[in-house]
């Protein structure tokens, strides 16, 4: 018995567990505080969104959703996400592949560049694109001459969203690819697989959980983006309003039922993202087997 106690003390995990057992008061207080905090600041506002949205009943809720400008906003948001997510997933795969599997000059610069959108305020991002593609911008006259509209149109929204969501897929993929190493790929090559076959059958499946997670994160942010999109949108109802912009506009028009209705759709997206994330974590852990590190999820 004495020996077991000794070995237990050496194990930090069991030591802290024992420490917690000794002072239930502290444990309950801390847990209670954390739960109370989460309830007041996270659960309550979220629940309130749905309560407000449904305040006038399901029929009113449905009517608010089917309102033409709101429907247009939903359609536009989906369009922007549908263009942005594949673009950034493609880019993320290419960048992560290059960073994880090869050594080259300027690698750290590339990594820093990928993170750049995280450190720039979205409003500045939006402004940046206005200065580039707006009427007074560098490419403005040329675009005007060729009857192309970027700012205050869907292309501008896509550009701004691509920029803001640039890091999500790449950031998720880099650590997963690094962990996978290069030996499986080398084995595939010795077995006669072409580069493309190797990528498709070996590299991609080995990062699929990280990839899926990157996709849902990227998608959630693409649909929820406000700042950058707000600057380049021009707020033309039914044309360039995305869902977050629509929420703001409805709210400022004192149509809080409508605002909360559209907001509730975004909140649903958040909940779905959370659910899918949990599912992915669970599946990844099950498939990779015990003892294997799960995804490096944030």
């Amino acid at each position: 018995m004495a020996r077991r106690d000794h070995s237990r003390e050496k194990d930090p995990a069991s030591a802290s567990r024992r420490g917690a057992e000794e002072s239930p008061l502290v444990r309950w207080t801390l847990t209670g505080l954390a739960l109370a905090f989460a309830a007041v600041f996270l659960l309550l506002p979220l629940a309130n969104v749905f309560v407000q949205a449904l305040a006038k009943g399901w029929r009113a809720y449905w009517a608010a959703v089917m309102e033409p400008d709101s429907l247009a906003a939903i359609r536009l948001t989906i369009t922007v996400a549908a263009i942005t997510v594949p673009l950034n997933v493609g880019f993320g795969l290419a960048a992560a592949w290059a960073i994880a599997k090869f050594e080259f000059r300027g690698k750290s610069i590339l990594i820093t560049l990928i993170d750049l959108p995280f450190s720039i305020s979205p409003v500045v991002t939006g402004l940046m694109f206005v200065l580039l593609f707006g009427l007074q911008g560098y490419f403005g006259p040329w675009l005007e001459a060729h009857h192309l509209k970027v700012i205050f149109a869907t292309p501008g929204l896509v550009l701004a969203t691509v920029f803001v969501t640039f890091p999500f897929a790449a950031r998720e993929l880099i650590p997963v690819m690094q962990a996978a190493g290069t030996e499986q790929e080398q084995a595939a090559l010795t077995l006669g697989a072409s580069g493309w076959q190797t990528f498709w059958h070996v590299t991609l499946p080995s990062v699929k959980w990280g990839l899926l997670y990157g996709i849902i994160l990227c998608n959630a942010r693409a649909m929820g983006e406000f700042g950058a999109v707000s600057v380049v949108s021009g707020h033309i109802a039914g044309l360039t309003d995305t869902m977050p912009l629509r929420v703001e506009k409805l709210y400022q028009e004192y149509n809080s039922a409508g605002a909360f209705t559209v907001a509730s759709l975004l909140a649903l997206l958040a909940l779905a993202t959370l659910a899918v994330k949990t599912l992915l974590e669970w599946r990844a852990r099950r498939e990779l087997g015990r003892g294997q590190p799960a995804l490096p999820l944030a």
Partner: protein
């Protein structure tokens, strides 16, 4: 000639890893690439496979120069030390991979995979994923996968590196049997000289990127080409002696050496088995005390100490040891049946 290297060199960022290495492996042979860690043996294997490109020299597989041939077209089977199984594929898909990428017909793939799973005693495990297999099973899957596309040569990187000592012995015997049955030219890397001696028909010995010797296990053991080989293959006593009138002397030991100038310091080596012992102190010319004895199972290892302080290792069977009635502290006489001049001593 199945594999041939001619003057092959490889540098990593200016650091030489393999230095003008030439050797060849005959069709159907089982050859060991032996050397201490960091000697460049894995690099040689990767050069043959095409996973590294040589900075100089030519590599031939079945007479064809493959320097400019990409990995995919060299038709080599490569088994990585870590096995590098595809984690997201089950056993069947792992073994079938090399056939699938070559667009074999489905029925042919299934037949070939089943055949290999039988040979490698993996039948019934088709649906398992790598993480659900034991170490030995993983290795067999890796071998089956490498052999599935019928490679012209099989390259194994430390095939027994990742298994424990008990299974190693079984695996060695298994590899020899397998090689005899399949008759694929096989080159395997190892740092374990015993393993190389036991399994291989020829041994290629590397040290610091240089080729030291090629030969049968017997040749490298009995006629080592260099002191490195002599000391690396098996145990060897090495003493440094000074030549005077054709006789090299160190302590009370004397070795006849013809053709060495007086005053020359040379290194002399002799195997433990070349030391003959007797409890009759008058029988042989040198006297010593048994300082330490080590029990090795069937064999005993003895360390003798001479009056001059020299220590010499010898070995004998346990029966011999019992018959002689030896123990630590026993006084013995001995002589050295055979020895060789290794080199001039390093200054």
């Amino acid at each position: 000639m199945s594999i041939a290297l001619r003057n092959v060199s490889k540098q990593f960022g200016g650091v030489p890893a393999v230095h003008h290495v030439s050797f060849s492996v005959n069709e159907g042979e089982l050859v060991a690439l032996l050397g201490p860690s960091g000697c460049g043996k894995t690099t040689v294997l990767r050069l043959i496979a095409g996973l590294e490109m040589p900075t100089g020299g030519d590599i031939f597989i079945r007479g064809q120069r493959v320097n400019d041939l990409p990995v995919q077209q060299r038709n080599v089977g490569f088994v990585f030390q870590s096995y590098a199984l595809f984690k997201n594929m089950n056993v069947f898909k792992n073994v079938a991979f090399g056939l699938r990428v070559k667009h074999w017909r489905k029925a042919d793939i299934a037949a070939r995979v089943q055949e290999l799973l039988q040979v490698f005693e993996l039948a019934g495990l088709e649906k398992r994923y790598p993480h659900q297999l034991s170490g030995g099973q993983r290795q067999r899957v890796a071998m089956a996968r490498a052999l599935a596309p019928k490679p012209s040569v099989l390259l194994l990187d430390e095939p027994f590196g990742a298994v424990d000592a008990k299974i190693r012995q079984e695996l060695r015997e298994w590899l020899v049997r397998l090689h005899r049955d399949l008759n694929v030219t096989t080159l395997f890397v190892t740092h374990d000289q015993e393993e190389a001696m036991e399994v291989a028909s020829h041994i290629v010995i590397l040290s610091q990127g240089n080729l030291e010797q090629i030969g049968t296990p017997r040749e490298v053991y009995e006629q080592p080409a260099s002191e490195f080989v002599a000391r690396f293959i098996g145990v060897m006593n090495v003493v440094e002696a000074v030549v005077q009138q054709g006789v090299a002397r160190v302590g009370e030991l004397e070795f006849a050496t013809a053709g060495q100038p007086d005053g020359q310091a040379i290194r002399i080596g002799f195997r433990p088995y070349a030391v003959q012992l007797s409890t009759d102190l008058a029988r042989f010319r040198y006297q010593a005390v048994v300082r330490y004895t080590f029990f090795l199972g069937v064999m005993m290892r003895l360390e003798l100490e001479l009056a001059s302080g020299l220590a010499i290792r010898t070995r004998m069977t346990k029966e011999e040891y019992m018959q002689l009635g030896l123990a630590e502290g026993s006084r013995v006489s001995f002589h050295i049946r055979e020895y060789r001049v290794l080199s001039e001593a390093r200054a």
